[in-house]
Amino acid sequence: MARTAIEFRNVSKQYTNTSQYAVSSVNINIEEGSFVTILGASGSGKTTFLKMVNRIYEPTSGEILFFGESIKNLPIHEYRRKIGYVIQQVGLFPHMTVAENIGTVPKILKWSKEKIAKRVDELLELVALPPHDYKKRYPRQLSGGQQQRVGLARAMAADPSIMLMDEPFGAIDAITRQNLQEELIHIQKKLNKTILFVTHDISEAFRLGDKVVIMREGEIQQFDTTYNIIVKPANDYVAQLIATQDVVQRLKTLKAKSVMLPVDSSISEIAFRVDKEESLHKVLTYFLEHDQNHVLVEEDGRRIVGRITWEQLKVSTKQDKVLSA
């Protein structure tokens, strides 16, 4: 079992001069290495929830643990340097170059110049901005999408184990957003970071998250895998939220691995293969275009780990019927 990276113990937050709780009695365990999205409408408390983790806001009551230690007992600046922080407005330092922005935390941590320079190049490569072209630019010379890439690189500079992201792609056009989402999934899988990602976009929440937290009026409605939320919503609110997406949209957010039946990897059948991270939408497209009734699911481009049949796909789209099955 993975370790618990972040734990909320009965955490509530009430802003001064308001009678309502922004976040009330939240208990949650975030496992190390998981990608958790936090979904909610504005005013649901999702941002407050996120910003209590790096102590931008302090909880009114309750306790937050970072790998088992109460964050109140950790020296605040050192603690924050272990957490990557990305916000919607990006907040790049306009008077510093891209390289200086990314190198800010390493510089504070007194890394050598060579090590910082190397790290900057490495991170720029990771976020698909060729270092040679970009490291000497200033933020105003970048497009919105490029700025957020730099924001992401800056947050990862000191190799934090946890990343907090507050609607990072909210102000970015749809095409660029999709690219960034794909790259973020790729980065997360590659580096095995724990990511807490706030969004109000349902398809973004389901596409990115291994698990989704659904929040409403300061309370967690459901915290589960994307698959479980879709097939067994915890209450009417969640069911309604899911229902706003049509079947095709829902299939886009579900991954092959969530419905496949595990099979022996030695299988040598000739059939269409999809990656386990691939969406069910692709599987459906295949079924509709070919006269086949199953596909194989593979991992790392070689190993077969499961299969999906037409029947299973049908079942996964009828959320409530799965419960009784």
Partner: protein
């Protein structure tokens, strides 16, 4: 006029230096007061309105009246002059310090905090360079207005270029009046230009338009 210059250039340069002395001291003292007050007020929003309107009212008092008002306390001479100039400058400098820090995008501050910058690092590396253009603008306006008001301080025996002006007026002697005018306005003009060049440089730096190829990874202060 030239004859006057040749004959009295020693006295004139003494008066010019005296003027510079008064202006320099006033600006330094003003800054030592205004910057901390401005910084304090960025944290206390409710107080900033009160303090700024107070300084605004004081700023509207004619200088001659303020000099007269303070003579019973500080006597005739430089001290009263400097006190008055410092009081006037507070309005401009506190206001600009406050505006300078308030104009920084809150997202930049939040990002800096979230990254784990301490209050001191945040101030020196982020806030100060970004607020600097507006603060420098305040210093420039304050310096020019101090050079002007300081001429009036000659009335209370503080010395400076005002001596030339007022003596010339009293004696109805044109060269003196002209030299007083030329020197004080020239001083104001050049101070303005010099400070403006610093300000422009600070603006370019804050916007990320100032290009300096060395120190790639140095976060310049």
């Amino acid at each position: 006029m030239i004859t006057y210059l040749l004959k009295y250039y020693m006295q004139m340069s003494t008066l010019l230096l005296e003027h510079l002395h008064i202006v320099f001291l006033s600006i330094v003292i003003s800054l030592l007061l205004a910057i901390p007050v401005g910084l304090l007020l960025t944290r206390l929003k409710w107080l900033s309105t009160v303090v700024l309107s107070f300084f605004g009212v004081v700023y509207s008092i004619p200088s001659l009246a303020l000099f007269a008002f303070l003579i019973p306390i500080f006597g005739l001479g430089k001290i009263t002059a400097i006190v008055v100039l410092v009081i006037y400058n507070q309005y401009i400098l506190v206001r600009n310090t406050l505006t300078g820090f308030a104009s920084i995008d809150p997202a930049i501050i939040e990002a800096g905090k979230g990254m784990g910058l301490s209050a001191k690092q945040l101030f020196l590396k982020i806030q100060l360079p970004l607020a600097l253009p507006i603060i420098l603008g305040g210093i420039r306006i304050a310096t020019v207005s101090t050079i002007g008001i300081a001429t009036i301080a000659a009335v209370i025996h503080a010395g400076g270029l005002g001596v030339l002006l007022f003596d010339g007026l009293r004696m109805n002697y044109l060269p003196k009046i002209l030299w007083g005018t030329i020197l004080s306005s020239g001083l104001a003009y050049f101070s303005n230009q010099i400070l403006l060049s610093f300000e422009t440089k600070a603006i370019l730096k804050a916007r990320g338009e100032y290009h300096d190829d060395k120190n790639d990874y140095d976060i310049s202060l």
